[in-house]
């Protein structure tokens, strides 16, 4: 693979910010860049297994179009030519979209998600569709019907989930940046476990049209990237009102990159005491504490804050999300698309189709959600959970009177071994304890890598949470910290690319 001029580093190793400069100056073509990534995929994906579907022709065609436009003196857009990977829960017209499920094994959407359309309009060639926990239900990508994705830092460990493929692709150099979805932490947690940046936007900021729905009041698409600056650029393309989504916010979209370098002088940072306690792995707590100290050095006013409702967050989430999911997944019935297993009558056909098409975790959540909504139980479970959600939102509001951003580890642990937590669903659910509250509040949060844990050498992620629609502040704080922390090591699989 050709090296980039003036550097021994292959294109696939560079950040989007670096690549944009090279593309604009003509030192690198979009086609060369895309080629570099496709070759990287071929080289490592048999080990990492980040991708379900790779789309080389489509990607190269888009790249070629970008190159042609530039050659003709047109401006194809600031980010044009920087390839992206897309989580396979996002509909892409004409391209197989499975949501990680057997029930959509042969499904080809007749339309594209708004997010996918915006990426394409911005000139980002799509490399392929990445692996995920089935219907975004999981925290390890082990629930994919196809195969588990492996953490590029240690192929015997999980990349996190549900957007494990998107996170691993960026961590392994198989994509410059990627799109995932976050319902209870499914962008932030895998970002943390894979040592990359992952952002969950405010609910309603990014269109949900084309996101195969898991929990409608929680789902959001967001960026994975190698740096905070890159994440800000990708968010810029994705954000903004969509007439196809009634819950999409009409607020004007700010320039997410404009204030990255403003620093954190005087920024009030609240460390959430509930999330720094016993359940947190020692090395994780250590790295997070070091980062907190750095923030103080940079001029932030760091304090502690207690949000008692956070203790119930997981339980609230695991009542609300499955309830909404049980209705969202009812459409998979073998009638209009997807898998069909025959039956003597429609009800039997539906039941057998869903029994064969859905994996165990999905079935479990459908059952849980159906139960929580059923006659006699609604008030006690779903109804009660929605009220508890209000309490969590009020808790946040109170905290944000005294603080501008809140801080916690993203995940209580580093990446665990494949198969380690699959015996007991409850154990897996607890991975989400730090991320779920922000989802319930519909607010925004980012995970950035803050070193590796001394005991296992695996990435530690730090979460910065912000008020709804305050991505600018969250990004500014994250960027300042990222700069101060210095470069993260690369996973061993990165190798020492000299070519």
């Amino acid at each position: 693979m050709s090296a980039t001029p003036g550097s021994a580093r292959p294109p696939w190793t560079l950040t989007a910010t670096e690549l944009i400069g090279l593309l604009r100056s003509g030192d690198l073509s979009a086609t060369e860049l895309t080629q570099s990534l496709l070759e990287r995929i071929e080289q490592v994906d048999r080990d990492v297994r980040a991708y379900i579907t790779v789309t080389p022709e489509r990607a190269l065609a888009r790249a070629a179009a970008v190159d042609r436009a530039r050659a003709a003196g047109e401006d194809p857009g600031p980010l044009a030519g920087v390839p992206v990977a897309v989580k396979d829960i996002i509909a892409t017209k004409g391209v197989r979209t499975t949501a990680g499920s057997r029930i959509l094994d042969n499904y080809i959407p007749p339309y594209s998600a708004t997010v996918a359309e915006r990426l394409d309009a911005a000139g980002l060639p799509m490399l392929g569709k990445t692996n995920l926990d089935e219907f975004a239900m999981g925290s390890s990508t082990e629930n994919s019907a196809w195969f588990p994705t492996r953490n590029p830092w240690d192929l015997g460990r999980v990349p996190g989930g549900s957007s494990g493929g998107s996170a691993a692709a960026v961590a392994a150099g198989e994509a410059v940046w990627s799109i995932g979805t976050d319902t209870g932490g499914s962008i932030r947690q895998p970002a943390s476990l894979c040592g990359v940046v992952g952002l969950k936007p405010t609910y309603g900021l990014v269109s949900r049209s084309g996101l195969i729905a898991f929990a409608s009041s929680l789902d959001q698409a967001g960026p994975f990237a190698r740096s905070v600056a890159d994440a800000a650029l990708l968010l810029q393309v994705m954000a903004g009102r969509d007439p196809r989504d009634s819950t999409s916010l009409p607020n004007p979209v700010p320039d997410y990159s404009a204030h990255l370098d403003d620093g954190v002088e005087g920024l009030r940072v609240g460390v959430v005491s509930q999330l720094m306690g016993e359940g947190v792995q020692a090395g994780v707590r250590q790295r997070v504490q070091e980062a907190i100290t750095l923030l103080g050095k940079l001029g932030a006013e760091v304090g502690e804050v207690s949000l008692p409702t956070f203790d119930a967050g997981i339980d609230v989430y695991y009542l609300i999300a499955p309830a909404e999911a049980s209705a969202n997944l009812a459409r998979f019935d073998g009638v209009r698309y997807g898998l069909r297993v025959d039956g003597e009558d429609v009800a039997k056909m539906n039941s057998r189709t869903r029994a064969e098409g859905f994996g165990a975790e999905v079935k479990r959540r459908i059952m849980l959600g159906t139960y929580a909504l059923s006659a006699g139980y609604y008030d006690a479970y779903y109804g009660k959970a929605q009220k508890a959600r209000t309490l969590i939102i009020r808790d946040f509001a109170r905290a944000y009177e005294d603080f501008d951003v809140l801080l916690s580890p993203t995940s209580p642990t580093t990446a665990f071994a494949i198969g380690e937590k699959t015996q007991d669903p409850l154990t897996m659910y607890l991975s989400d304890v730090c991320t779920v509250p922000t989802s319930l509040a519909g607010a925004t949060a980012i995970s950035i890598p803050c070193g590796v844990a001394p005991e296992d050498g695996l990435p530690v992620g730090l979460q910065l949470m912000g008020r709804a629609l305050d991505e600018v502040t969250v990004l500014r704080a994250a960027h300042a910290l990222e700069e101060e922390l210095g470069p993260m090591p690369h996973p061993p699989l990165w190798g020492s690319p000299s070519e």
Partner: protein, 487 residues
């Protein structure tokens, strides 16, 4: 049913579904329509593809509010959609987006007048929802029972529906049918639906129970009522059936029955619908509807004079009988046409205009598959025609001939009359000569009449009409005959 036990009371409630006459579906941009090739008015949203989201049709919401206001409902300051969850192959998402405990409109009422008097029927609620697709049952002559398999067409899926639920305030099949008729009229006036029962754009389900006064009978739901006639027949049948069961010492279970129009009976419906737990919860993909005062005012201003008020006004201002008023108020077009025709008729009794419109014009138009919207006859033209007849310028028979030409050509009455020389001859002196001639030519008939046999008088009149080419004024002819025969 007149000997039914007098101590049992009938209680009826209706549930009406009305397809709105919007251009597009409730939650997507597909066209609304009837008929056509299957699955040609569909998109990823109304097919329930994964990842799709609903966006409400603004006009559909306005129409629903209009209906609620017309029925005297209170409009909810903030109403939301709910998901109603159940599996059925005509349901693209296996949940229907509907409304549950916070509907658009609540607590209205509509008066119904039957032979038994006028009563106010409560409207419990008016809400918005989306329609399902259509199933075609194969291998059983179209019936769902014994079908081998079914075919699904989603053209109708997603069509905006307004559901209107009444209080169980009706007490007879007559009241039920009259209510349904009145409601249909109102919906037609509001121009929110084409209310074609035969096409399914207005559908009824009825609930009926029979019990001693003060007690609550078990509610029986009756489905498959595709016309006002079916509604009446089914309710009448069910009333008798329930009374007979109770009289025989049996009990009625809360159940659902299917009306079979051909055999004229209701049958139990064997699907387990009553076992459904719909698990309603607020629709997370949609935001609340909070109608502003300005929006409500605008919608209210667009509500025309409705049938009840128009009927009262026609009776009071035009002296019409309740029967005639009801006829002319049945459609909005008929009443408007009538008023314009009265204005164009000059100094003529409105009753005459009413008769010509209801008896003569409408019938002829129906024969030609036309209606008041498509006819070439203007209200002013009709009025002028009636004026001519009332003034005696032409006879009633001549008027009908003129009307035929008016319908065919749209030309004004006076023009046709003049062209054909149809002016009625009413002068006594002109007619005396002709009458005299006819009498002279039929002396034997005259003898018989003078002898007391009045029957052949008609023959003489006919002869006189022939001799005058139908232009003799019949009233004057009668007078002359009476005079001349007496001599």
């Amino acid at each position: 049913m007149s000997d039914a036990a007098p101590e049992l009371l009938t209680t009826i409630g209706l549930e009406i579904h009305c397809e709105l006459a919007t251009a597009t579906k409730m939650f997507c941009g597909c066209a609304v329509g009837f008929g056509g090739e299957p699955n040609t008015r569909v998109c990823q949203v109304c097919l329930g593809h994964p990842g799709t989201l609903p966006v409400p049709n603004e006009r559909a919401v306005a129409y629903a509010i209009k209906i609620a206001l017309a029925l005297g409902c209170r409009i909810a300051p903030s109403s939301i959609f709910h998901r109603k969850n159940y599996f059925y192959p005509d349901m693209p998402k296996n949940y229907q987006i509907s409304q549950y405990d916070i509907p658009l409109g609540l607590a209205g009422s509509l008066d119904v007048t039957t032979g038994a008097g006028t009563r106010a029927i409560g409207i419990t609620r008016v809400h918005l929802e989306e329609d399902t697709g259509k199933s075609l049952h194969m291998g059983s002559g179209g019936r769902i029972h014994d079908a081998d398999y079914s075919l699904e067409d989603f053209n109708r899926a997603g069509t905006p529906l307004v559901e209107i639920v009444t209080e169980p305030d009706m007490t007879s099949p007559d009241e039920g049918r009259t209510f349904a008729q009145e409601l249909r009229s109102i919906l037609e006036y509001l121009e929110v639906s084409d209310v074609r029962l035969e096409e399914g754009s207005m559908r009824f389900d009825a609930n009926i129970s029979v019990a001693p006064p003060g007690e609550r009978g078990a509610k029986v739901e009756v489905k498959n009522l595709n016309s006002l006639r079916s509604l009446h027949r089914a309710l009448a049948y069910e009333e008798v059936r329930q009374r007979e069961v109770l009289a025989g010492g049996g009990t009625i279970d809360q159940s659902t029955r299917h009306w079979d129009e051909k055999s004229g009976v209701t049958r139990p419906l064997r699907t387990k619908e009553h076992a459904f737990d719909y698990r309603y919860f607020p629709e997370p993909d949609l935001v609340p509807i909070k109608p502003s005062p300005e929006w409500l005012e605008g919608i209210t201003a667009g509500i025309p004079e409705l049938p009840p008020a128009r009927r009262r006004r026609f009776i009071a201002d035009y002296g019409l009988t309740p029967y005639d008023a009801a006829l002319l108020v049945a459609t909005r077009a008929a009443g408007t046409f009538f008023e314009d025709a009265v204005a164009g008729a000059g100094n003529v009794e409105p009753k005459l205009v009413a008769n010509w419109l209801a008896n003569d014009l409408l019938g002829r138009l129906a024969e030609r598959s036309e209606d008041l919207a498509t006819t070439k006859v203007t209200p002013q033209n009709l009025g002028a025609l009636v004026g001519l007849v009332a003034a005696g310028s032409i006879s009633g028979n001549q008027g009908k001939v003129v009307l035929d030409e008016m319908i065919a050509t749209g030309r004004p009455a006076a023009e046709i009359v003049d062209e054909r020389g149809l002016r009625q001859v009413s002068g006594r002196s002109e007619l005396e000569a002709v009458v005299g001639e006819v009498l002279a030519a039929n002396a034997d008939v005259v003898e018989r009449i003078r002898a007391g046999d009045t029957k052949p008088q008609g023959f003489l009149v006919g002869q006189i009409m022939r001799a005058t080419k139908g232009q003799a004024n019949p009233a004057v002819v009668q007078e002359l005959l009476r005079d001349l025969l007496q001599r």
